[in-house]
Every structure is written in structure tokens, then in C-alpha cells.
């Protein structure tokens, strides 16, 4: 039930961002600086989630080298940098994590 509310809320705000100019405001161009700012939102969002999931997986910050998620992230980043292939990147991340768990006993 709570999940249904979450999905409803997400659906509502998503539709709003799509409908606002098409349906309500019509031909109104956005300020150039807002357009430029918007281009950085995906980078900021993805980076926040990567760093959160890697260095603060359970909400507490873990910057030590015995953090296996760190090694998973390093492996995924290397593959992502060399090849822009999403599924290969995910596989590399998991292999890095498993490697760190096995070798580091963590």
C-alpha cells in the first residue's frame, strides 16, 4: 500500500514536469541558465548514488581499503572508462566486489 503511494507520487511529479510546458504554459522558453543547469542534474544524481552506495553503503561512511564495495567500484569504473557498455560494467563491479571479499576475507 505504501509502495503504491510512492509510485503515485513519482508518477504525479514526473507527469507534471512533462505536462507543464506542453499543456499549461504553452510557448514559453526557459531561461538559458536554467537549461544549462539542468544538463548537470543527471551527473550530480548518478555521482551522489554511486558514492553513497560505495562509501556509505549502510549510512555510515566507510573510507577504508577493507571496504569491498570500493574495489567493486574501482573495477566497474575501469571498465566503464574503457568501454561504454552497461552490462559489462555491472559484471566488472560484481567481480571486483567478489574478488575483494574472497581475497580480503571481508
Amino acid at each position: 500500500m505504501a509502495i503504491a503511494l510512492l509510485i503515485l507520487g513519482m508518477a504525479a511529479v514526473t507527469f507534471l514536469t512533462r505536462y507543464l510546458l506542453v499543456g499549461l504554459l504553452g510557448e514559453r522558453s526557459l531561461p538559458e541558465s536554467l537549461k544549462r543547469w539542468l544538463t548537470y542534474v543527471p551527473t550530480a544524481a548518478f555521482a551522489a548514488i554511486v558514492v553513497q552506495g560505495t562509501l556509505a553503503p549502510q549510512g555510515t561512511v566507510r573510507l577504508d581499503l577493507r571496504n569491498p564495495y570500493l574495489w567493486g567500484a574501482v573495477a566497474a569504473a575501469l571498465v566503464a572508462w574503457r568501454r561504454k557498455n552497461l552490462l559489462l560494467t555491472i559484471a566488472a563491479g560484481l567481480l571486483g566486489l567478489w574478488g575483494a571479499r574472497i581475497l580480503g576475507g571481508v
Binding site: 513519482m10 542534474v41 552506495g53 549510512g59
Partner: protein
């Protein structure tokens, strides 16, 4: 006979079918995301129904991934809805460029067009607009539904694949989501301002990790995007 011929011709060139076909090459790019999304949905406790419902009702790839990331991190629903809003603000750009061509349409069509307005739909339709000078409503509908259909089918396939795995968390699949974002990030990182936004986001998300409901992530997105934008402005003045 002649009737039959002309009908065949009109089906072959129907704008709706042309739209469906024009979007098909994008399936190649969208399907892996849908598969990954469907696989990951169950690792953060969204359940099969919730994972599928999000693809059906929200239909916004990046925002859905962000929602999974925040659910996995234990964020409050309010934080997730707020993050969805921020991540989807870029749709305003698409709406602004399509709006002048859609003012003649009745409200229900504007609503349907808006619902189908994803990055991918916009990419195909904007190309069509450049070449033809207009957006055919049926062509748009063909493009949008083609992408919608692929998103739902690949989500369902991902869910089915995820169901075959015994215990996703023990396999470390909770890390598949951050790894997915590393792949998504690699496609965004062009130029110094984007790197500045990345570094700022990394530092800020750790500094705000203690805030309740993972509200820190929403704050981080807003501030880090501003850092990237500020860097771009500063560089353009040098």
C-alpha cells in the same frame, strides 16, 4: 482491387507505424536498462508488482534507477518523490521545444503526448521535427508507444531473470545498482564542469550522509549541479 491496393499503401506509410519503426533502433539501448532495472527492483524490496508498476505508471528510466538507489539506502518516500522531481526537471526542456508544435491539440492528446515524453521519445521526435518541420500526432504516438512497450517488456524480462536467482543480496547484487550508475555516469562525463559536479556530489553526499530520510542526496543533487553549472560559466569567461 484498386481499393485494396490503396489501403495496402496507406498501411505501409501510416505515420503511426512509421513512428513505431523509427524508434526500434533505440530498443537496443533501452532494453539493457529495462533488464537491469527489472533485476534490481527485487534487491531493494520493491517487489515484482511494485517494480513493474513503476515502469507502467512512472515510465522514467533515470528517475526509476534513482528511486531504487534511494530505496536501497533506506530513504523516506518524501525524499524519493523530491529526487524524482529534481531528476525529471530536464523534461521541461523537451516540453518547451515541443510546445509550439502542439498548441492545436486537445487536452487529452497533450496529456498522452506528455506521458510518453521520455529522453528517447524526444530524441526521435526532435530528429523528425528537424527534417519535416512538424510533429505528426500519430507519428509521435508510434514512437512513444514503441519505447513504452520495450520498457515494460524488458522490465518484465528482468524481473523473470531476477526470480531465477536464489538470494540476490548474498551474491552482492545490492552492488549491481551502484555499478549500474557508474556505467550511466561514464556516459555523462564530458568536460571539466561535469567532473566538478561529480567531485562535489561525492563530497557532499558523504558530508550529508547523517541527514534523516536520505534528504542529503536531494540537497547534493541540487548543489552539485549548481557547481557544474558555475564552473561552466566561470570557464566561459576565461
Amino acid at each position: 482491387m484498386q481499393d485494396g491496393d490503396s489501403r495496402a499503401l496507406s498501411v505501409g506509410t501510416s505515420p503511426f507505424l512509421a513512428g513505431l519503426r523509427a524508434a526500434m533502433p533505440l530498443w537496443l539501448g533501452i532494453t539493457p536498462y529495462g533488464l537491469a532495472y527489472g533485476l534490481l527492483g527485487q534487491t531493494v524490496g520493491l517487489g515484482a508488482g511494485g517494480t513493474l508498476a513503476m515502469s507502467v505508471f512512472v515510465f522514467a528510466g533515470s528517475a526509476q534507477f534513482v528511486a531504487l538507489g534511494l530505496l536501497g539506502a533506506g530513504a523516506s518516500y518524501a525524499s524519493i518523490v523530491l529526487a524524482t522531481l529534481v531528476v525529471n526537471l530536464r523534461h521541461l526542456l523537451y516540453g518547451a521545444s515541443l510546445a509550439p508544435h502542439l498548441q492545436e491539440q486537445p487536452v487529452r492528446w497533450k496529456a498522452a503526448i506528455s506521458f510518453l515524453l521520455t529522453d528517447e521519445t524526444f530524441a526521435v521526435v526532435a530528429g523528425h521535427l528537424r527534417e519535416q518541420g512538424t510533429i505528426g500526432r500519430d507519428f509521435y504516438l508510434g514512437v512513444g508507444l514503441s519505447i513504452y512497450l520495450d520498457w515494460i517488456l524488458s522490465t518484465v524480462t528482468g524481473l523473470a531473470l531476477g526470480g531465477l536467482l536464489p538470494d540476490p543480496a548474498a551474491l552482492g547484487l545490492d552492488f549491481a545498482l551502484p555499478a549500474t550508475f557508474i556505467g550511466l555516469l561514464a556516459q555523462q562525463l564530458r568536460g571539466l564542469p561535469a567532473w566538478a559536479a561529480l567531485v562535489a556530489a561525492g563530497a557532499l553526499v558523504l558530508l550529508t550522509a547523517h541527514l534523516p530520510g536520505r534528504l542529503g542526496i536531494v540537497l547534493t543533487i541540487i548543489v552539485a549541479a549548481t557547481v557544474g553549472w558555475g564552473m561552466e560559466r566561470w570557464l566561459s569567461r576565461c
